[in-house]
Amino acid sequence: MLWLALHAFIAAVSGGEIIAFGTKATIVLAIVGAAVGNADTRRRREFGMLGNLGISKLAPPAMWAGTMVVLEISLRVSLYYAGESS
């Protein structure tokens, strides 16, 4: 949702153009995603239960960051092929 909202915002301010981030911006996005994931897990009070389930504290931030990176790469690939076909 965060990723979608970010790209929707960029599309809105750039007159409807969908822009994929470069490598450095994607890394920053992943770091922000990890921080948001950590804060969200804390807000939902999930760390205690996750710990008792044998799941590392690093898992939620890593999942958030990983999801951001996968979505960003997917967008970049999609835009590449869309550019090729047109």
Partner: protein
């Protein structure tokens, strides 16, 4: 089962624990007792892997660790009930049961819910439960998990006497099934019937006082913690 030795820990230069020790075997319920601010919760957190010690080690299930995480210990059979935030607020009681069973295999859900008298609110979100109900749900999760070691930090806090009995029976049930159990708390008279032995935490270190009878007769423990009516 669980052993911690030579544990020291400071916060902002203030030493909370020095050379503290805790040992608990399967089938035993140990009470970790002592005045506020003496380091009980700190020692529990270090044993559970949610806080690092400055020095010392924790041994669990035959493996010794200088630094360890709860996730590692939990995968090997430890279950830790902190003072707060053990449940996910957005999930129902049943969903918590589902998580435990998905991760660790099928348990006796009926027994866990029945022992803690949860039948009436299995479908309730945990953020709608009272303090006592929350404690019972946490205990039911422990019963469902069947841990080799349970660490429960102040489980009797804000719990009425009848609920204390339910929780206490839960500890005894786990111990009779071979689990090692450590509980902390200040409700000493409520805790006493369920304890096999007492470890006194005072001035940052620990003293093994033996069974409850000898602990309650210990002059220093009586004077410094239980008080005249203890």
């Amino acid at each position: 089962m669980l052993r911690a030795d030579s544990i020291s820990r400071s916060f902002d230069g203030r030493r909370v624990l020095s050379s503290a020790r805790l040992a608990v075997s399967g089938g035993e319920v140990v009470g970790l007792l002592g005045r506020m601010g003496q380091g009980k919760s700190t020692l529990m957190k270090i044993c559970a892997g949610v806080l690092d010690a400055d020095s010392g080690w924790v041994e669990f299930d035959g493996q010794q660790y200088d630094r360890v995480r709860l996730s590692t210990l939990a995968a090997r059979g430890l279950f830790y009930l902190a003072e707060t935030d053990n449940l996910v607020s957005a999930l129902t009681v049943t969903q918590h049961f589902d998580l435990i069973e998905k991760r660790f295999g099928r348990g006796d859900r009926d027994l866990a819910a029945g022992m803690m008298k949860l039948e009436d609110f299995l479908g309730a979100r945990t953020d709608t439960l009272s303090g006592g109900e929350t404690r019972r749900v946490e205990m039911a999760l422990a019963l469902l998990r069947r841990p080799s070691c349970l660490l429960a930090d102040e489980p009797f806090r804000s719990v009425d006497p009848l609920m204390c009995e339910l929780l206490g029976n839960g500890y005894r049930y786990l111990a009779s099934s071979g689990s090692a159990v450590v509980v902390t708390g200040h409700e000493v008279n409520a805790l006493r019937p369920y304890l096999d032995s007492v470890v006194w935490v005072t001035s940052g270190t620990t003293y093994e006082l033996g069974n409850t009878e000898s602990a309650w007769q210990h002059e220093g423990f009586r004077r410094a913690y239980l008080g005249p009516r203890g």
